[in-house]
Subunit: 157 residues, 4 copies
Amino acid sequence: MDDRKQDDTQRHEQAAPNVRARIRESFERQGLMRHLGARLAHIGPGRVHIVLPARPEVTQQHGYFHAGATSAIADSAGGYAAFTLFPDDSSVLTVEYKINLLAPAEGDHIEAVGTVLKSGRTLTVCNLEVFGVRGEERRLVAAGQQTLICLPGRPDQ
Amino acid sequence: MDDRKQDDTQRHEQAAPNVRARIRESFERQGLMRHLGARLAHIGPGRVHIVLPARPEVTQQHGYFHAGATSAIADSAGGYAAFTLFPDDSSVLTVEYKINLLAPAEGDHIEAVGTVLKSGRTLTVCNLEVFGVRGEERRLVAAGQQTLICLPGRPDQ
Amino acid sequence: MDDRKQDDTQRHEQAAPNVRARIRESFERQGLMRHLGARLAHIGPGRVHIVLPARPEVTQQHGYFHAGATSAIADSAGGYAAFTLFPDDSSVLTVEYKINLLAPAEGDHIEAVGTVLKSGRTLTVCNLEVFGVRGEERRLVAAGQQTLICLPGRPDQ
Amino acid sequence: MDDRKQDDTQRHEQAAPNVRARIRESFERQGLMRHLGARLAHIGPGRVHIVLPARPEVTQQHGYFHAGATSAIADSAGGYAAFTLFPDDSSVLTVEYKINLLAPAEGDHIEAVGTVLKSGRTLTVCNLEVFGVRGEERRLVAAGQQTLICLPGRPDQ
C-alpha cells in the first residue's frame, strides 16, 4: 500500500466527536456536495479530507474532473479544516483562494485535503491539495492556498 | 434597466459563428456544467458569460450559492473567453486562478463573466467576475484572475 | 496625450486633505519605498497611484524592473487605496495578494494603481495594476488582486 | 537547535556546481537583490533559500519588513528553485504568484525558501515560504504559491 495514502487515511488523529458531528451536519446541508456525490473522508483537528468519485456529471470537455469540481471539494475541505478549530457558536466563510491545476485530474476518485497553515482569531489560512487516486496510485493534481474568516456568535445552521 | 446589465447582455459584440459553434460544442461536453444547470449566455471575442440559476443542488450550508459553484462557472467563463482567441486546432487548459468571494452569492441566478486581460501565444490571463442577479438588481459577488494555457495542435474534442 | 494617462493623472478626484496627509506621513515611514525611490503620485478616494523610476537598483537579471519591485509598489498602492476609506484611528495590513506579471516591466518608470473593488468593515479587496511608462506610451505590465484587513483602534504610526 | 532550521540549512543536498554557478551569476545581476541587501543562502535541486537582513531600508510604516521586500525575496527564491531544474540554455520568468502575509515579518533577518512542487517542460509551480528568524527562533511569516515559465534557447544573461 502506498505510504502516503496509508498516512492520510489511517494514521491521522480524529477531531473531537462534537466537532465531527458539527461538520457532518454542516456538510449535509451543502446541496452542492451531495449533488456532486462528494463525501467527507476524514475530519482531524485542522485537517479535513473530501472524496469525489468519478462520474460523467463532474467532468470537463475532455472527460477529466472539471476544475470547478476539483476546486469545489478543495474549498469545502479547507473551510471545514478551519472550522474544526473555531468556537462552537461561529460560522466560517471563504474569503478567497488560489489554486493551481497541476495535472489532468483523473482516477477512480479525487481526494481533497485541506490543512490549516495558520490559525488566527479572525483569519485562518489553509493549504489545499487534491489527489487523483486510481487503485493504489495517488498523484497530486491540484494545489492551492485559501483564506477564511471566522464569524463569531453566528452558529453555522 | 440597469445600465451595466444592458451593457453586458445587449451591446457586446458576438464572436464569429464558427468560434461560437466550437465553444457551444465544447460546453456541451462539460458534464459538470450540465449537471449544475449552467448555460452559456454570451460569447464575444475575448469575453464569455455563463449563467447558473438558483437551485438547492448548488448551495452551501447557509443556502447561498456554494463557492465551488461560483468558481466553476467563473473558471469555465474565463476558459472559453480565452478560447475565443485561440487557433482552431488548439485546446485550452486552466493553469491556475484566484478568486475572492466578496459577498454572499444569492439571487435568481448568478452570472459569471470571463474577460481576456492579456492574450499571449502560450499563456492568456483573464479577469473573472461573478454577479448575483435578482430581477433588475445586479451585484458583484466574486472577482478573480486566471491564467490559461493554449495547447496548439490538440483540437478540443 | 494618451487618454488613459490623462484620465489617470488629471481627472481623478482627490481624497480629503486629512486623508492625503495621513497617507503621505505613513508612506514617508516606509523605508522600502524611499530606498527604492518610489513616490506617491495620486491619492483619490479608494484609489492610489505610486510611481517608481527606472534605476539599476530595482532590476532583475535581464535589466527589467524586478517582479519584487513591481509587486512592492502595487502592494503599497492597494494598501493605501484601502486606507483612504478606513476610519482615522485604524491601521491597514495586507492579508494576501496575487499578481500576474503580464509583460517585461520596462520604461522610464512604472506606475502602480491600487483601486478598491469592495470595501468592508473588516476586509477590503483591491484591484492592482502596474503600467510601464515610456514617454507618452503606457502599457499594462502586471495585474493582481489583494485582500486587506482594517485594524480599528490602532492608529497607523 | 531548532530541528527545522537544522534541516533547512545543513541537511539539504546541494545542486550541481555548474547549476550553482549559473544561479549565483544570475543573482549578481539582480540589482534589486543587491540593493535590498539579500544573499543566496542555499541552492539545492529544486530548492533555493534567500536571506534578507533587517535594516531600515526594507521596512514598512510600522518597522516590520515590508510585504514588498518579503515578496521580492520569495519571488527570487522560487524563480531560482525552478531554474535549478531547467536546461542550461534557458531563462526563467515569473508568470504569477500569490502570497499570504501570515504574521508581522520581524527578526534579525527573514529567509525565503522556494521549493518546486511540480516541474513541467513549460510551466513549473513552486511553494514559497518566508520565515522571520531571531537567534534560534524561526517563525513562518508568509506562504505562497508561484507559477514560472521556462524560456528555452534563451540563456539567462
